[in-house]
């Protein structure tokens, strides 16, 4: 858009147009209601900070821009992220030196921002002057350009490893699911689970972000001869508020959370401070570990740790990062676990890799009573993917991990502590031929500990996109051997779209297993499965699936239904 066009005043809208302020306010109110429902304290904090955000600070002079376009409840202004505007900011519409409206920035691009009217005493028109306080940009590269993941699959609450989504407003998923597994070979046996889950992420509350990941389920177990059992489990995987004091470089996260830079830590309850220095990040945390069984808050095990991360590369070609840190946990004043780690990641156009090494430091009772040496290479894990060309991908990995002796293993041993390394390795290749055909093969070995060695080899082939309805076929054959059995497993399946919103999948399979112990333990089985998924209104997802499995002495079914709403 030319400067002239941008500044060209648009004719005044009809008087009725002023009503647009009302739906805008209503939209803001609705959003606020949702926010309040999930985290009233955050909303209160937002409300408290709103006026100050709208008022220019003494340290930062106000900048001005103009309203360029009006569409429905949305007001567009001619300044964006590169001009220092961020989502959640409040802007002021100024006319004749008076503030006639306050705008809440809902979306922002490099040079444009879309806003909703927060407070308006007068109708907003194209050409109105808008005053705002430019906020310091984090870096030339938005947070999402930094590697957002680790091989552990955690995503960040902000800071250096922020998951794509900062500044994206409220997103979430609410799901219901029901699983039934019936064993017909033993009357009235099996189990069922019904569950509900909520995943929520709101990164549009001013300087605050809110995260929630809550899953609850109730299970029923039935076994012949035993009384039916039922148990409930409500797990909070994430319930945290992140605050960015001053600018986006700093993040203080409070609540149940995980940190991608500390992926081996899993969940913790406490506070995490991240500082994003551009090419490097650092952070520290303090908190407690949840109860392992039900994830309830517990103060038994207290953690303290920190990390330092350095990264390089460009956003869209090669990226790499190295993270190192140390974590210590204590229970009853005794060392529970003290370890340091080094992990590296590389994302390139061809090569993707992840490697982590954990080194445990043993002191106190671990050395004196358990006889551990001072240092132990506790966990080694590496995986690599290499795209050798447009048609070939090679991959492999190595795994050498062990349980760490914890304080609870010493004072309340539930069973004999098994510190044997779990070892394994895998490798494979996949090939694409044209648009429709692919095949691959892989092998994997698991060993270490008392369970002996297991080897698995599999080949697979897939043909897809054969018709406009995306007709496809997949096949897989796998051979496995372990300490007890040798087996073959074969599967074929087909899938097709039934219109744009319905997809059908059907499959058949067969298994033959020979026991190394005796012929009476040999078994074979066949199964058939069907799956239907339906997308309703682009926000609703319904899945129905069923499988019947029949073998020499086995006869069981599983049925699963899931409905989720995403927003």
């Amino acid at each position: 858009m030319s400067a002239a066009a941008a500044t060209r005043p648009k004719p005044h809208r009809p008087a009725g147009r002023a009503g647009r302020v009302v739906p805008a306010a209503a939209a803001v109110a609705a959003l606020a209601f949702m926010h309040a429902g999930m985290a009233a304290v955050v909303f209160a904090a937002e409300a408290a900070t709103a006026p100050s955000a709208a008022a220019p600070t003494a340290a930062t002079p106000a900048a001005t821009t103009r309203v360029t376009y009006l569409s429905g409840p949305t007001i567009y202004v001619e300044a964006g992220r590169d001009d220092g505007i961020n989502q959640g900011d409040y802007l002021e519409v100024v006319r004749d030196g008076k503030v006639v409206a306050t705008l809440l920035v809902t979306y922002v691009s490099a040079h444009r921002a879309a806003c909703s009217a927060n407070v308006a005493s007068s109708e907003i028109v194209v050409g109105d002057q808008v005053r705002y306080t430019a906020r310091r940009a984090v870096s030339a590269e938005p947070p999402a350009a930094a590697p957002a993941t680790d091989a552990g699959g955690t995503s960040g609450t902000g800071g250096a490893m922020a998951r794509p989504g900062r500044g994206t407003g409220l997103h979430g998923r609410v799901g219901l699911r029901y699983l039934v597994v019936k064993d017909h070979s033993i009357a009235d046996s099996g189990f069922s689970q019904r569950g509900i889950d909520l995943w929520l992420q709101d990164q549009g509350l001013g300087d605050f972000d809110v995260y929630a990941d809550i899953r609850a389920r109730r299970s029923y177990h039935a076994r012949t001869g035993d009384q039916d059992e039922a148990d409930s489990l409500s797990n909070v995987y994430r319930l945290a508020v992140a605050w960015h004091p001053g600018d986006e470089r700093q993040t203080i996260t409070l609540g149940r959370q995980f940190s991608p830079a500390l992926s081996m830590m899993s969940l913790f309850d406490g506070v995490l401070y991240d500082f994003n220095g551009g090419a490097w990040s650092a952070g520290g945390f303090a908190g407690t570990e949840p109860e392992p069984v039900d994830l309830k808050v517990s103060s038994d095990v207290r953690d303290l740790g920190g990390y330092w991360q350095y990264r390089g590369g460009t956003a869209d070609t090669r990226r790499w990062e190295v993270t190192t840190g140390a974590v210590a946990s204590y229970e009853d004043g005794e060392p529970n676990r003290e370890f340091m780690f080094v992990q590296g990641r590389y994302f390139g156009p061809r090569l993707t890799g992840f490697v982590v090494e954990e080194i445990d430091y043993y002191s106190g009772w671990k050395v004196e009573e358990a006889g551990e040496s001072t240092f132990s290479l506790t966990s080694t894990y590496a995986s690599l993917f290499y795209r050798a060309g447009d048609h070939v991908t090679l991959y492999g990995g190595y795994d050498n991990r062990r349980n760490v002796r914890l304080y609870s293993d010493q004072v309340t041993p539930a069973s004999e502590f098994n510190d044997a390394h779990r070892q394994g390795g895998w490798g494979g290749a996949s090939f694409r031929v044209g648009q429709h055909f692919g095949f691959g093969a892989d092998l994997r070995r698991s060993t270490g500990g008392d369970a002996g060695t297991a080897d698995g080899y599999s080949v697979n082939v897939d043909v897809g996109g054969l018709t406009a309805a995306n007709l496809g076929f997949q096949g897989r054959a796998a051979h496995y051997t372990n300490e007890e059995n040798d087996g073959w497993l074969y599967e074929i399946s087909t899938g097709i779209d039934a219109g744009s919103h319905v997809h059908l999948e059907a499959g058949l399979g067969h298994l033959d297993e020979t026991s190394d112990r005796e012929a009476a333990l040999d078994r074979s089985a066949d199964w058939i499965d069907l799956e239907v998924d339906v997308i309703l209104g682009r926000h609703w997802y319904l899945l129905l699936s069923g499988e019947q499995y029949q073998g020499d002495d086995e006869d069981n079914d599983q049925y699963y239904a899931a409905l989720s709403w995403r927003f």
């Binding site: 993941t149 046996s189 189990f191 676990r337 779990r422 112990r517 995403r566």
Partner: protein, 280 residues
Amino acid sequence: MNGRWIVLCAGLLAFSMGAAGAAPAPMADNPHGSYVEECSMCHRADSWRPAVITKAFDHAKTGFRLLGAHATAACRACHVSLEFKAVKLKTECVACHQDIHRTEFGPDCSRCHTTRNFIDYARMRRAHSLTRFPLSGTHMVIACGDCHLPAAQGHLQYVNTPTQCADCHLDDYQGTTNPDHEANGTPLDCLQCHRAVSWQPARFPNHDAQFFPISSGRHKGKWSTCADCHTNQPNYSTFECIQCHAHDDPVQLQGNHNGVGGYQYNSQACYNCHPRGEAG
């Protein structure tokens, strides 16, 4: 700027403002940066927002087909910026999904999960075949968490689960009464007598060759529990033949053994003359 983009935007703007035929409306920069498609693929003339993704939009062109539940995700749940091409997103599952398994299974989520079905129990069972403990029988119809108990940070929950029967069934073993496994020193290797696919009836495959045919010959199927014959539990060195309905009539058995020298009506005498359970 792409000419088609300009024309379409202008048309949509004019229409939405009811100003068709009036002076050209102000045109905005493409909010999606270098990403150029027909606006109408995702936007409607009567209301720019919310975006309504039409069938014409094919995300597969970007190299990442939206399958299953991904097709219902909001664009900005993944895209940090409306300038879709500005930040190239990674397509690995872990780029967006939290791994509650704490890296125990590595980054290849597709071994157990699909975009359509995140709790594909059948798929998980088959993936289990390639582990050191393929699932069979009753093990196929229990919840994962029954064996893979939640573990504290520093302990592995899945990949190092013990596979010996007693690792999970020790309580069952110690709770047996008929026969009392612990009292009679039954080995902890349950598969000697039981099968994962059918716990009952228990078998004793060496019983026929070592002691007395019960899984073959005339006594096959004539008993239900060990205690039918081994009545002095938990002592398995003693047994009873004459308490069974076929042998519990001393008068009839006396008649059947007329002329048999040294005949006695007691179980040890039965076994001495009929060690394979056959008549004659």
